[in-house]
């Protein structure tokens, strides 16, 4: 009952609010001065660094502190006009009474800000106006002030055009696959590179115990970082933008910038979130399953019994008082302190999060802390340190092919209910209560967890010996220690023990994984004025990245007695395994940028890289880059031609390359040690290798423009891109006749082209002192296509998906059944007719009963179109409503739940009552899995992803208790889905780690993305 969690959350929130408001009061400023705050429209978050000036009284002004507060003394007169200005925001002014202490500026972001600095890999960053590529920025602090976002990948979802978030499962602790502008490799990782404050960090997805059999673990390292400690995220998309990041950057770069202290009064901030996660509409999403004696001989109470039996375990378990799912609690607490002086600034934060999933076993308890320090002893030198620590314990449950509650209930079978136990000698008969194999209490005996300790730290030194020369040295490390455990205790309950078969006496598998990512990055930039109107910026740098992983795993089976838990205590020890992997990258870049009148920027660059995977022959790979950016609206002659409502227009274009390489030693043919006869260690064929393997190289062109309209109240950001991945690497099976059939081989399979557009629209539709309406709309397309496959190949099949020239990678291909005939005597559909691939038809099978029809295109595996629409409405001055809807279209999922019910376990109504079923579907269900186009279905969707309503407690109340701002927010997430998809959820799929595996795009018994409600109190002091 989720309302219980809701009520508890409300009480806890109220209690915290009372504590916060009981803080001591402070004195207020008196006459001859004015004081107030500057907040951002929408989130009402305090803005630091805003300049406040008094008209007609030069020398009187102030800069807002970290909380957005300001105070100006020595003002003469009774009424003055104040002006507020801040980079990135439209200026504001208001007439105030001298002596007022509650002045409030609400500043709106400019739809287009060309002067902001973004991270591109060069020392000191670059002004956006000089960059020829599109860079998506997410103002995390602002987003978090508006709504409750649980993870970093959820922060990216819908907020960065071209960034596709593929969540896969709704288990707490899981993380999505992130794909930037689709997939440009067949088989290499498509996970973008992630940097935190300039340091490359572990970007693995699918870590932890494999709880999705046929796939991978589900925990993403990106989500270790708490959104509460992040200031912003910038995404470099495509090879042209990421050239300076070199090898591996072809899949995009995500820069996470954590919060820093600002000089000014010390600011304290407290956040508490209480809420609940639940399985939305489970009653209507979990199916009823059927059987009769025609399909299952066990489904009969007496000879000749042809009754249709059914079971819906969701309903039956609820009626029994043992519901399948719970409402998982959300309990998050965060605090931070920041401030400092021009010499020394600090930010320190701590978070404690306890989030539960709907499965009784699923929970993540995480503690994290961060300390960021900045020292600026003089204007030539500054030093920044960024130190973060995360400790978490994540418990998971089996799902997908692994079993568990979802598996047991989706594939429930009435034949497993107790009514069929009369006369049965099966000792477990009826105990399953209709679940496919075992009841949930049996599944829950097995425990999966990951213990994590992670340290991410960096030191950045900037030295500017001359005004024209900037040096930056960043050194950092990201260390992750994972302990992954799969543990089944010795089961003493005879009923449950029966379902565990020979494993009833327990086992423990443990994997100890350490990952080290080290970054050494030196960059320098030199600026020069070549002519009065021509500037030059020369940048160069050296980067050295090392990645080292160690793995140690062991297993013990069969505990001799209950209570034993360690591998040492197990009766059978499986031989332990250990391994380590290393991969190092060394690269240099040189970039030359010329600027003309600060309007036209031409940039050329080259990146040269080498990597351990390139082999012993030093093969330096060069990636070029060229870009052009023209702020046309600042050119007087152009400006005259532009309509007056266009106040900013920038045109940009870029060409560049980046790349990625396979893991070390994939080129070599190797043997691996195994146990042999007579206790002798022997060798067996391991990797087939490919001595001709080359790294993938991706080259891209992008063109676009940004424009600010109507005094920057409206903004357009448009990009067209066209990337070509040459020598795209594919992992394919090795013909067993080589002797290396157990391995896969990487080879340069061909060329992939992907092109598309990204369009972002921003609008400040209404802006008034007490109400406002902001609206953002993003849409992106990705038209991936395989241009060439090497050799004789035009088709590479892998189960239900294929790589074929002319189609996007990972497209669905299967036999398409057009018709069949129902034979009532046989209760079968016969004579299936299939699509012949040329618009005609042909019998699906030949006379020998083997399929002869060709596989035909059935759709794409990755959405080619996605986007979001966000609205933020403020009313009655202090209330805000925030709504984000996102969507993805034109792609298909393989609904394996349908396939398993209808084709494997034969419990769907269509199979059990064939006379009432479309023969075209029936013939597939009766084909023992050969024909299956009926399970590849349109998964387009739109989701009501985020809804929140916030109330800013008026300062006249909060200030009584010294709080400078208290905000109450109620947020809902994943509240509704519009989709033609008939499966459980269009976003569900096997996660398959970093690579699209053989079960890519398959929806099978995963937990759907959970709905949640979270109540947040945010207080600033």
């Amino acid at each position: 009952m989720r309302n219980v969690g809701w009520t508890r959350a409300a009480w806890q929130s109220a209690a915290l609010l009372a504590v916060l408001l009981s803080a001591p009061r402070r004195l207020h400023a008196q006459g001859g001065s004015v004081a107030g705050t500057v907040v951002v429209s929408g989130s009402q978050r305090g803005l630091s660094g805003a300049q406040i000036s008094v008209d007609g009284q030069p020398g009187h002004g102030a800069v807002t502190d970290a909380s957005g507060r300001f105070r100006i003394g020595g003002i003469t007169g009774g009424q003055v006009m104040l002006q507020a200005r801040l980079l990135g925001f439209r200026p504001d002014s208001q007439s105030v009474r001298v002596g007022a202490t509650d002045v409030r500026f609400v500043m709106s972001e400019r739809a287009l800000e060309l002067n902001e600095i973004v991270v591109t890999g060069t020392a000191g960053g670059e002004q956006r106006r000089a960059i020829g590529t599109s860079i998506a920025s997410v103002d995390v602090a602002d987003v978090m002030a508006k709504t409750a976002v649980p993870s970093v990948d959820a922060l990216l979802n819908g907020r960065a055009p071209g960034v596709v978030v593929l969540p896969g499962t709704g288990q707490i602790g899981s993380g999505a696959q992130i794909r930037i502008r689709g997939i440009s490799s067949f088989s290499l990782s498509s996970n973008p590179l992630i940097y935190v404050d300039g340091v490359r960090v572990d970007n693995q997805t699918g870590t932890g115990i494999n709880v999705q059999s046929f796939s991978s673990g589900i925990i993403s390292r990106m989500n270790d970082f708490d959104p509460e400690e992040i200031e912003s995220i910038e995404v470099l998309k495509g090879p042209a933008a990421a050239t300076l990041y070199g090898t591996e950057a072809a899949r995009g770069v995500i820069n996470i910038i954590t919060k820093k202290g600002a000089s000014g009064a010390t600011k304290y901030s407290f956040t508490m979130k209480q809420g609940s996660n639940w399985f939305m509409d489970a009653a209507n999403r979990l199916p009823t399953n059927y059987c009769n004696s025609f399909t299952n001989s066990a489904c009969s109470l007496h000879p000749g019994d042809t009754t249709l039996y059914s079971v819906n375990v969701y309903q039956s378990e609820n009626a029994r008082g043992t519901p399948l799912f719970r409402d998982g609690g959300v309990h998050n607490y965060a605090a931070n302190v920041s401030g400092g002086s021009p010499l020394f600034r600090f930010f320190a934060s701590g978070e404690w999060n306890d989030n539960q999933g709907v499965d009784f076993a699923n929970e993540r308890i995480q503690q994290s802390a961060r300390t960021n320090l900045s020292v600026t002893p003089n204007d030539k030198f500054d030093l920044e340190s960024s130190v973060g620590y995360v400790k978490s314990h994540t418990t998971l449950s089996c799902e997908a092919g692994c079993g568990g509650t979802m598996w047991g209930s989706l594939y429930s079978n009435p034949a497993n209910t107790s009514q069929f136990c009369v006369g049965s000698t099966d000792p477990a008969c009826g105990w399953g209560r209709g679940f496919n194999s075992s009841p949930p209490e049996s599944d829950r005996s097995e425990q999966f967890w990951q213990d994590l300790n992670r340290f991410t730290g960096s030191v950045t030194l900037r030295y500017n010996p001359w005004s024209w020369f900037t040096n930056r040295l960043s050194i950092g490390t990201d260390y992750t220690l994972e302990d992954d455990v799969d543990f089944l205790p010795y089961i003493t309950n005879d009923t449950i023990a029966y379902f565990w078969g020979s494993s009833f006496d327990g086992f423990r598998y443990q994997n100890h994984h350490q990952a080290f990512y080290n970054t050494y990055d030196y960059s320098a930039s030199a600026n020069a004025n070549v002519r009065p109107t021509l500037t030059s910026k020369t940048s160069g740098g050296i980067q050295y990245y090392t990645n080292y992983n160690t793995f140690f795993n062991a297993e013990g089976d069969h505990f001799p007695a209950p209570g034993l838990e360690t591998i040492t205590a197990a009766g059978t020890k499986i031989p332990a395994n250990s391994n380590n992997t290393r991969n190092n990258t060394l690269g240099f870049y040189l970039q030359q940028e010329f600027g003309w009148r600060d309007q036209l920027f031409v940039t050329g660059a080259a990146r040269v890289d080498n990597n351990s995977a390139f082999g012993n022959d030093i093969k330096w790979v060069t990636y070029p880059k060229a870009s052009l950016s023209w702020v046309a609206s600042e050119n007087e002659s152009v400006k005259r031609l532009l309509p007056s409502f266009i106040n900013n227009l920038r045109l940009r274009g870029a060409y560049g390359g980046s790349g990625q390489q396979p893991a070390y030693n994939t080129a070599l043919r190797t043997l691996a040690p195994v146990a042999g006869p007579n206790n002798q260690a022997t060798l067996t064929p391991s990797t087939f290798g490919n001595l001709n393997l080359k790294p993938e190289r991706v080259f891209g062109t992008e063109l676009g423009f940004e424009s600010g309209l109507f005094n920057d109240r409206f903004g357009i950001d448009f990009t067209y891109y066209n990337d070509v991945s040459r020598d795209a690497i594919l992992s394919r099976g090795v013909a067993p006749s080589t002797g290396f059939g157990a391995s896969t081989q990487y080879f340069n399979a061909g060329e992939i082209q992907k092109s598309g557009i990204e369009l972002g629209l921003k609008a400040q539709l209404i802006e008034r002192r007490t109400y406002s309406w902001e609206s953002n709309f993003n849409i992106s397309t990705n038209n991936g296509k395989i241009k060439r496959l090497n050799g004789k190949d035009t088709t590479i099949d892998n189960g239900s998906y294929s790589h074929r020239v002319g189609y996007a990678p990972y497209s669905w291909f299967s036999y398409r059944v057009l018709s069949a005939t129902y034979d009532p005597a046989l209760r079968k559909a016969i004579n299936p007719i299939c699509d012949n691939g040329n618009g005609g038809s042909m019998p699906c099978y030949n006379a020998a009963g083997v399929v002869q029809a060709p596989k035909v295109y059935l759709g794409r595996g990755i959405p080619p179109v996605d986007g979001s629409w966000t609205n933020s409405i403020r009313f009655l001055n202090n209330f805000r409503v925030y709504v984000m809807t996102d969507f993805a279209t034109d792609y298909e999922r393989l609904d394996n739940n349908l396939r398993i019910r209808c084709q494997i376990f034969h419990t769907c109504l269509q199979y059990v009552q064939p006379a009432n079923t479309d023969p075209r579907l029936l013939v597939q269900m009766q084909s023992n899995g050969v024909l299956r186009d009926f399970v590849i279905n349109n998964a387009s969707y739109a989701k009501l992803r985020e809804v929140s309503i916030s109330y800013d407690v008026p300062e006249r109340f909060s200030s009584r208790f010294s709080a400078h701002g208290v905000t109450l927010t109620a947020s809902g997430r994943n509240l509704h889905t519009w989709s033609p998809y008939t499966g459980l959820d269009p976003e569900m799929q096997f996660l398959s780690g970093a690579n699209p595996g053989s079960n890519f795009g398959v929806d099978q018994a995963e937990y759907p993305p959970l709905a949640s409600f979270v109540f947040t109190i945010r207080a600033n002091y």
């Binding site: 030199a526 059978t572 190797t670 394919r732 090795v734 157990a742």
Partner: protein, 431 residues
């Protein structure tokens, strides 16, 4: 501009210095594998041969299990559907299934084509390398060659008994008769080298193997000649042990049945009897206390591979699997000779059990059926039954089209397995 030039120059200089010594910065190692060239010396010959034998023994156990599942010896008792095409006999319609890709150490999804292909490659690769060494370089060359030809021969034979077609070293598809011919050549080479090296066990195993494939090729005289040379009591086993916790070294049939409960003895083979109604102890089964993977089945295990009613992995994993033995040679003789000679051979084998003698008719059809039935019981779950079903075109049991009892679906017609997709897609010469 001079400043820029100086900076570029300095950066280039730094880059040059670092680049000159980058190999140290980029050097990494792969500590869990060695290049295949490790076998390229006479000093590694013994390791190479032991490795090939280990791969064969793992592959053989897995193949015996798979052949048992496809035939009427074993049945599935798990919920995972990947291996059902074996038991349901529709693997021939699902050429992307596990029979083409699974390895030898999985209990749930035992492989056959890949592990046997690996074993075949290992042995043939070793033969090539060993042949190139002189006797001086490798004093035990003939011993090793005899062994490798023997294991290569059994690899080809097992592939021929299970696969409708197979490919070798990325070559074209070879049919069953072609595989038996290749096996015969290897057995002949094994015999030659074993005789030279004085290796009686390899020699006798090669006689059994060659007799088998000669029989399969219709060369009865050749089969008789070889089978007659096999001494009474001879058995050549795949060695097994309990060293890796049910992994590749274990008795795969025991691991798949009694240890893990994924498979059980098929109902049709639970109490195999002679024509006299006597239960044959050679195909006896044990009703175990093993909990089945599907929580429903009862796990029956061939007595010869069982640790008794109660699971004892130390014992069960280490039960050896016979690759070739005297009884098979005798039944080859019986089949090839037929008539009263066959009856005499079979009754001699029965007397040793003991079982009552056969006293029925001795016409060709009756003797053929007697031999088939005797082979089924005598060589129970030794990897030979499925090819007997195929070569004698026996009626499939359960019947084709009947409901597959796991959860529906119907039984198919698989006896031999077609060339799998993983070979067809990745071997440019395969058809």
């Amino acid at each position: 501009m001079m400043r820029i030039a100086r900076i570029i120059g300095a950066a280039a200089a730094v880059g040059l210095v670092v680049a000159c010594n980058t190999s140290r910065l980029l050097d990494v190692n792969a500590p869990n594998a060695v290049p295949v060239t490790v076998f390229d010396s006479p000093g590694a010959a013994n390791l190479m041969v032991a490795s090939a034998i280990g791969d064969f023994e793992c592959a053989f156990g897995s193949a015996v299990t798979v052949e048992g599942i496809i035939s009427d010896e074993l049945s599935d008792s798990q919920l995972g559907a990947a291996a059902w095409p074996y038991d349901r006999r529709d693997a021939n319609t699902q050429t992307n299934g596990i029979y083409g890709t699974a390895t030898c150490s999985s209990n749930q999804n035992p492989g056959i084509y890949t592990p046997l292909s690996t074993a075949r490659f290992d042995a043939d690769n070793a033969i090539t390398k060993l042949t190139a060494y002189s006797d001086a370089e490798l004093p035990n060359k003939k011993t090793l060659l005899a062994q490798m030809n023997l294991y290569s021969g059994f690899s080809y034979a097992m592939l021929g008994m299970s696969m409708c077609g197979a490919a070798f070293d990325l070559g074209p598809t070879v049919d069953q008769k072609g595989m038996f011919a290749l096996a015969e050549k290897r057995f002949t080479d094994a015999i030659t080298n074993a005789q030279a090296a004085g290796l009686s066990s390899v020699l006798n195993a090669a006689y059994v193997g060659r007799a088998r494939v000669r029989l399969y090729q219709g060369n009865s005289a050749g089969a008789i000649a070889d089978a007659q040379l096999v001494p009474k009591g001879f058995v050549f086993n795949a060695s097994t042990d309990a060293s890796d916790g049910g992994g590749r070294r274990s008795n795969r049939v025991y691991a798949a049945t009694q240890q893990n409960g994924d498979y059980t003895v098929e109902a049709a083979s639970l109490s195999l009897k002679t024509e006299n109604g006597e239960i044959d102890p050679r195909s006896a089964i044990v009703t175990t206390t093993t909990r089945p993977a599907d929580s429903k089945s009862v796990i029956y295990v061939p007595a010869k591979y069982s640790s008794g009613p109660t699971q004892n992995n130390t014992v069960g994993e280490a039960i050896p699997l016979p690759i070739a033995r005297y009884e098979e040679a005798q039944l080859i003789l019986a089949e090839a000779q037929g008539g009263t000679a066959a009856v005499t051979i079979i009754n001699t084998l029965r007397a040793a059990v003991p079982l009552k003698a056969y006293t029925g008719p001795t016409d060709a059809a009756s003797i053929k059926n007697l031999v088939i039935d005797e082979r089924r019981r005598t060589l129970f779950v030794e990897g030979l039954r499925n090819y007997d079903i195929e070569r004698f075109t026996l009626t499939l049991n359960p019947a084709v089209g009947s409901i597959y009892p796991r959860v529906g679906g119907t039984y198919g017609t698989t006896t031999c397995l077609p060339l799998p997709d993983v070979e067809r897609f990745n071997n440019p010469n395969a058809t």
